[in-house]
Symmetry: C2
Subunit: 191 residues, 2 copies
Amino acid sequence: MGRPRTFDIDTAVERAMELFWRQGFEATSTEDLVESLGIARGSLYKAFGSKEQLYALALRRYCERHAVGLVEVLDQAEQVRPAIRAVLLELVEADLADPERGCLLVNAATERSAHPNTVQQVSRTMGQVESALAGALERARVRGEIAADKEARELAQFLTTFLQGLRVMGKARADRAFLDNAVEVAMGVLD
Amino acid sequence: MGRPRTFDIDTAVERAMELFWRQGFEATSTEDLVESLGIARGSLYKAFGSKEQLYALALRRYCERHAVGLVEVLDQAEQVRPAIRAVLLELVEADLADPERGCLLVNAATERSAHPNTVQQVSRTMGQVESALAGALERARVRGEIAADKEARELAQFLTTFLQGLRVMGKARADRAFLDNAVEVAMGVLD
DNA sequence: CGAATTAGGAACCGATCAGTCAACAATCTG
DNA sequence: CAGATTGTTGACTGATCGGTTCCTAATTCG
């Protein structure tokens, strides 16, 4: 009961995610949020409690969306090697299209490494990425798509690490030739 | 002529670097700087102009120190492969010892991707890292230490990218087993 | 010495920060 | 309808932001 909310929570979190993604936590003011979300200050605080909590929701949404996306692509892949290459090249495209934005997960890891809740969320998501890759690689190994003596988990940890490096180099304005080449060399570990 | 400065500029930049490294640009206030540098506000502004300019000096110092360090290690190496492994494992140690600090270069790339001066400094330093690696790898190739059909530049771009990923995973609190393993798999591209 | 020059320092500046509050509006239950 | 409950709003809060100003202190040069 009580007066019904006049704005959509999901849409608001989506817009907050966009702002934090582009500007970071510290550089995004509550005034920025009020403007972009199109609601009054008081409503924002009643609905979300604090800037910190809204950030946590935005980050969680980003993590869920991207972890799920990765799992889906890898699970549905006929062949694992081209699927992984496609995933990496898609990240390259994203970085080239919008280098200032980069990856919210990487931004969170670097800007907010002193905040346990953020670090935990980041760490958990990295684990999901690793597991998705490890699952796909293990399938590939059993199928004979990659050499039987390769450890799926080890390859997955390497790829997870390399993937974060790609996002950083994208922000550092590396060009397509650089990033594409890095991906090709990285794919070589599967041979 | 005029009154001589009572503090050491180099020491001040060093302390500023430490603060920005640990906290980032936005989260470091001028008050933090005044306290840590042990000089008055007015003196800080007279000596450095603005928070931005002091940050630029701190970042430049970090870049020079680390790029030079990398070049020296690689140039003096008897064998390139163990030297590169040592460089990567040293970064792993640094991340494990102080995960909140991470790498100022990566922090700068992610937090300040909207600031051209910072991006340019970051990009230039990444280029130096790539060149140092490429030089060492080319020597190794000529000497027969790595296969003759490997392109030094391509391997160097891959390693530069992977290296940034290591720093991110360190901030995301990956453990030694994870990071060491990632390094070992990455080293495999030289085989 | 005295003029010129530069550094040091504290008070001060308007702007902006994250967050609160009280009055009002809209809904549900009875 | 009345009362309870919850959402909306914008003015307001004290704190802090990055930066400036102005006066004093220390030095060099003539």
